[in-house]
């Protein structure tokens, strides 16, 4: 964690935020607009065409149900997709200056999360103003959940960015993989809408736990914790640790492959 207090890391994060989001005027607007438009499309398709309803959450309409899960998912998937290229895109730097290379994907993940969390907060406010009952006290539970999601994303970002150096196809495989992951996570639907067989299968997906706990805390006011809730956070930490070990093992050889 000493890495994250590094001045170079701060510079990288602020550079990423500025180039990716703030450099052009529309950048910041897009950050809100893009997920908002997707959300509108999904809301139209599911509520107007399919007449989808949320069976277990009485009183919660579909749009907030979707939005609460959709924003964190966007941060998660975008941070991994963006950081997959973090090493190859900085080949010139890697080959010339010695510095801990893990800072590159980590800074991308951090910048993406920082920006999307700002958007998330704005969306929650808007939902509240539109009449949805947001359980603000639930933020106390939601923030640790988001933090573990950040840890999970960081681990996967380290893994994919290192792998991408050796296997160029990773950048091509990743987007369809993330789409697949999106639909196998109960974001557009609720796991209770599935049969028992499928529901238990979908529980194996760590992202299921994340989105469901976020809904519990922020929408349903369900602040209940159990020991099984430690499973996914521990798994996320394990992923980060293993990826860091893998990344450091590879990082001395990046230059050979770039």
């Amino acid at each position: 964690m000493k890495l994250l207090s590094n001045n170079f890391f701060h510079q990288l994060v602020s550079r990423a935020i500025r180039t990716d989001y703030l450099e052009n005027l529309t950048g910041f607007a897009w950050l809100i607009l893009q997920p908002l438009m997707l959300l509108a499309v999904y809301a139209f398709v599911f509520t107007t065409i399919f007449k989808a309803r949320i069976p277990d959450a009485s009183g919660v309409s579909f749009v907030p149900y979707l939005a609460v899960a959709f924003w964190p998912w966007t941060a998660f998937s975008e941070s991994i997709l963006r950081s997959a290229n973090a090493i190859s895109a900085n080949a010139a730097l890697i080959g010339k200056v010695a510095f801990p290379g893990e800072l590159l994907p980590l800074s991308t993940v951090t910048a993406t999360f920082v920006m999307h969390m700002a958007g998330y907060l704005a969306v929650l406010l808007v939902l509240q103003l539109m009449g949805t009952d947001i359980h603000w006290l639930g933020l106390l539970g939601a923030i640790p959940v988001l933090l573990f999601m950040f840890i999970f994303a960081s681990g996967l970002a380290l893994l994919t960015s290192a792998l991408q150096v050796f296997v160029r196809d990773v950048a091509q495989i990743l987007p369809p993989l993330m789409t697949f992951w999106f639909f196998t996570t109960p974001i557009l639907y609720s796991s209770s809408m599935l049969g028992d067989q499928w529901a238990s299968l979908i529980k194996l997906n760590p992202m299921t736990w994340y989105v469901e706990r976020l809904r519990d805390f922020l929408l349903l006011g369900n602040y209940h914790w159990s020991v099984s809730d430690l499973l996914v956070p521990s798994f996320s930490i394990l992923v980060l640790w293993a990826s860091l070990v893998f990344f450091r093992r590879c990082s001395g050889h990046f230059e050979d492959f770039l």
Binding site: A98, E255, F257
Partner: protein, 395 residues
């Protein structure tokens, strides 16, 4: 003295990674901890120790592995074999523009580069004025770096490195960029940096710069350490190697030196230097050579001696008939010439001397023989011959 840098048995092997299959195989080998199957060995078994306060020059031809060696030193690449130990605050100037973002302003890039060199933002605030005055690019610092000339980028880069207060400075051929004024400024800075007891490791093709700034040198040749030691012998050996290489090329270009004429060179030797090795003569010593010529008709031939640099540049030539010399007759057909160059004024380097057999009229060159010799010395004089001189004026 505490060794700042210790390299032991460094080898670097680049796997072949052009095709996807090769990448995968190399990656698998890497994961399994095995040596890659095929590739290029860029460095082979190089050991080097640098103590605090030393200045080390690394020289060698293009592609010899100098830059790779520096990358190993700075930790940018991991050697395939051997160990690297660096106990110092290092600033590397492998490429001055590394870490610069063209879209960002000079100020932003200074911040980035400074953080890369381990400066905290407080330290940077204090040194910002120094950096700006050293770089001396005026209002341009607020412009995006993409509008800079290459010289300005170099100035900015060097200014940040100079401000980072390193103990060990590692530079590649970077001082070659930038205008003369800035180059001198950099050299002055490096000199004062060394005077403060700091350590320098530099790669350069300029022997002048290496001799000026360094006390020790390493000659890397085809990935191996060819010579390691004090700067003068190593740089001289390197220059001699180059001169010989040039001469060889020249010889190959016009290999028409015919020569079994009537008058032949029978024997051409240095006096006072036995053995097969090329003699080494100290600057200022005497050089004495003997030439035995045969003459088919018994008339005494003319001997011509020529001294040239190893690359073939003529230095001096003299024939026996210029000076009205008659040779010592050994028998009917053989004549002996001896020549002594008193207190040889050639500067350190590699040279050769030729003995020619000419007809008695001194008109036609019939045969030649050549020997190499080396002049040693520690002078920083330039050119290839010492001209006696005195400085006037002043005290």
């Amino acid at each position: 003295m505490r060794p700042l840098v210790r390299l032991q048995g460094i080898s670097k092997f680049y796997p072949r990674v052009h095709r996807p299959g090769e990448r995968l195989r190399a990656f698998a080998a890497l994961m399994a901890g095995r040596e890659p199957q095929d590739g290029v060995e860029v460095l082979h078994d190089i050991s080097l120790e640098v103590s605090a306060g030393q200045s080390f020059g690394i020289i060698g031809e293009n592609g010899a592995g100098k830059s790779t060696l520096l990358k190993v030193l700075t930790g940018v690449i991991t050697p395939s074999k051997g160990s690297v130990e660096v106990n110092a605050r290092v600033a590397a100037l492998l490429e001055l523009s590394a870490g610069f973002q063209p879209e960002f302003s000079g100020i932003d890039n200074i911040k980035m580069k400074a953080s890369l060199l381990g400066m905290s933002s407080k330290q940077l605030d204090r040194r910002m004025d120094d950096i700006l005055s050293f770089a001396d690019i005026g209002e341009y610092v607020y412009e995006p770096v993409k509008h800079y000339s290459s010289g300005m980028v170099v100035r900015l880069g060097f200014a940040v490195v100079a401000a980072s207060d390193p103990e060990l400075l590692i530079t590649d051929e970077v001082l070659a960029v930038g205008d003369e004024f800035f180059q001198k400024k950099c050299i002055r800075w490096i000199e004062s940096f060394l005077e403060q007891g700091n350590t320098l490791l530099m790669v350069s093709h300029s022997m002048y710069l290496v001799q000026k700034l360094c006390t020790k040198a390493l000659w890397v040749h085809q990935g191996r350490a060819r010579e390691l030691g004090d700067v003068f012998p190593v740089t001289q050996a390197y220059l001699a190697y180059h001169e010989e290489k040039n001469a060889l090329e020249k010889q190959q270009r016009h290999a028409h030196d015919g020569g079994s004429g009537l008058y032949c060179v029978r024997k051409f030797t240095f006096l006072g230097h036995s053995g097969n090795e090329d003699p080494v003569i100290r600057h200022g010593e005497d050089l004495e050579a003997e030439l035995i010529l045969s003459s088919p008709d018994g008339r005494p031939p003319v001997a011509l001696f020529g001294v040239m640099r190893a690359d073939g540049t003529p230095v001096y030539g003299v024939a026996s008939d210029f000076d009205g010399i008659t040779p010592e007759r050994i028998d009917d057909r053989l004549f002996r010439f001896r020549i002594r160059f008193k207190s040889l004024q050639l500067l350190a380097g590699s040279y050769s001397i030729r003995g020619h057999a000419m007809d008695p009229e001194g008109m036609r060159l019939c045969d030649s023989s050549e020997h190499r010799f080396t002049v040693s010395g520690q002078s920083r004089e330039m050119g290839f011959i010492h001209l006696p001189h005195q400085w006037n004026g002043g005290d």
